[in-house]
Point group: none
Amino acid sequence: MNDKRVHILDVAEQLFSERGFDGTSVRDIAGQAGVNLAMISYYFGSKEKLLVALIAHRSSYTHGILEELNRDDKLSPWDKIERLVDLYVDKIINNYRFHSIMTTHLPTIQSDDIREMITDIKVKNFELIKKIITEGQQQKIFRKVDMELTVGCVMGTLTQATLSKSLYCRLMHIDIHDEDTYRKKIIPKLKTHLKSLLKAHLEIRN
Amino acid sequence: MNDKRVHILDVAEQLFSERGFDGTSVRDIAGQAGVNLAMISYYFGSKEKLLVALIAHRSSYTHGILEELNRDDKLSPWDKIERLVDLYVDKIINNYRFHSIMTTHLPTIQSDDIREMITDIKVKNFELIKKIITEGQQQKIFRKVDMELTVGCVMGTLTQATLSKSLYCRLMHIDIHDEDTYRKKIIPKLKTHLKSLLKAHLEIRN
Amino acid sequence: MNDKRVHILDVAEQLFSERGFDGTSVRDIAGQAGVNLAMISYYFGSKEKLLVALIAHRSSYTHGILEELNRDDKLSPWDKIERLVDLYVDKIINNYRFHSIMTTHLPTIQSDDIREMITDIKVKNFELIKKIITEGQQQKIFRKVDMELTVGCVMGTLTQATLSKSLYCRLMHIDIHDEDTYRKKIIPKLKTHLKSLLKAHLEIRN
Amino acid sequence: MNDKRVHILDVAEQLFSERGFDGTSVRDIAGQAGVNLAMISYYFGSKEKLLVALIAHRSSYTHGILEELNRDDKLSPWDKIERLVDLYVDKIINNYRFHSIMTTHLPTIQSDDIREMITDIKVKNFELIKKIITEGQQQKIFRKVDMELTVGCVMGTLTQATLSKSLYCRLMHIDIHDEDTYRKKIIPKLKTHLKSLLKAHLEIRN
DNA sequence: CATGAATGAGGGTTCATTCAT
DNA sequence: AATGAATGAACCCTCATTCAT
């Protein structure tokens, strides 16, 4: 029962990320998932509510990661930045489908409620990262930076790696359909780059 | 004559960016543009070809900017970086609708031809920026960095500012529908941040 | 359930025969049949597949008639010819709508598959009649004739009676819209004529 | 000028015969004929009037043939039948496109005027052939036959050869698209068959 | 609880025709 | 006399959803 729900959500996630929300029909999802067409309305109410359910499902799954990091008092701010990058890159790239949906669908959402819901999630993530940086600044270890855009730069780089996969595949000579290879190559690349970038960016200059 | 074509493209751009390609009907475009529904097929052939025409239209418009910068021999690499950021931020944010379409639609495009077309444009932009950085590296002014992701970080930050407008509006206490204020505040913020970021990132450390 | 399918096929047959395949819209069929427009796609998939379903439906219905005749060993070749004419005239004239569609649509069909499908049915009918004539020839009862055109002459006369109804109604002083009277008068006329014609044509002359 | 009109009619004839009247768009005709789309309405008034013009054009062209035959007093009724078959087969098969249009379109015509117009032409042809047969009967050379269907049988055989080309190509092992071969083989076959058939049919039996 | 049947609304596209030039 | 631009209507089809069973 719940398995079927989760299965539908998985299929929906895949199709939404591949074809977009409006480019995916409920028929497509039902067909791919091997369930009756009416079952989707039956379980979720509507296509839009299916999306909301998907967001809730995935968000609850990837929620605790950053919070845990923040509670860890033994780590220095620099260590936390490194761990943050590791966790964040893994989180986004391994959930690139969901991340893609959230990012591409956000600007086209007509319903204020859903937009606020997605924005809330993004704000929460922002606040957690902000906390880490603020902590380092209070300890006079990080310099003062534009907080919104510093976070935005990290998020944006990952979004770029998600949405412009076709660009990076071209640049890195990877077949566009070979998702595994792409992920295997882009993840360490992203980690190294972002750590180096944040180091240079946050470091107090003399 | 051609005015009507351009007008249709403008309306299509706005609606595509607000509702997505699949979320916008040809009827919507015709209605908003005040032209007959059949006019769109008459002028462009199909909805997809309308998108291609839009891409061609906007790309030709914003093409020369970066090339010009590259040809300017009097500027130092650091100067070029600064000008690059100024030009690029202006270009993207002032064409944020088109940028939004290009970015959000890219991963869901089914047609290989159009995906390649968009990727081509992105590659071209990448190459021009790469040239500037490479030049600075050859002059031993910039340090060695991950080229793809350094560019991706700049692009991604701008994409973030475009696609996650709702997030930044919330963080910066701007009404989501007040586009002018958002642009006026985010543009200098982006310029300052990216210059500072690239400075720290490219600078040779001792 | 299946009644509705058959009802739609009946209506489609009537309209196709009156207005032609391309002259009939799916809306016309849905309207005349009193079903929802989307129902046609739901049941048949597409307008073209509706035609295929109609052909399959009618062909299966009228298939066995000639085969049965062929298996009857008690009849002499002349008896078989007479029965053939009786059966064939009844079959075509009572299904004149379907026969009209098959004949008028055949030369304009673009899809190779459907054309081959219709041709297959015509070939099968040809083979069955050929068998009867060949049998008579082997028994030295019928003379040697052009097989294709002897069959073609029978088929053609019936086609003529179907497609040029307006001509025959004029010649026989029947109102063009009075289908019952036309059928009642033309059927015995056709039977008598074709029997006489085939008798003279197949008979061995001295 | 008039050349252009005739050219358009030729193209229309070809397309109407290949795709049917309703299956052919005015755009198709204009495109194939290499003339401006608006020119067809400009010259002919409407698509339907174009068809009427085509019928008038072709009818006037093939009109006099049978009349001439009838006036020839030197020929015996049997000679006239033979010449009739020769002329008629040539006329229909060499104008098979036009014949196909006339035959397939006739039952679907909604306009009473056009149907009457086409029926008129068919009646005229019928009367001319009827005259020949009646003459032979008055001279006690031909036996009494069903006049309508005797003519209908000849017409029908030719219609069959025109509309069921795909059947005959299959039976005679001719490629369906090789029109020249088909015509070269079917014309003498038709002439021989119809002469033989009419001989047996009209001959007074003892 | 689950689903096949059904539907109103709207999708993109093409139609024959007209009009201003 | 001739045509590029434009249009209202209609095309076939698919959409998300509902409802009776």
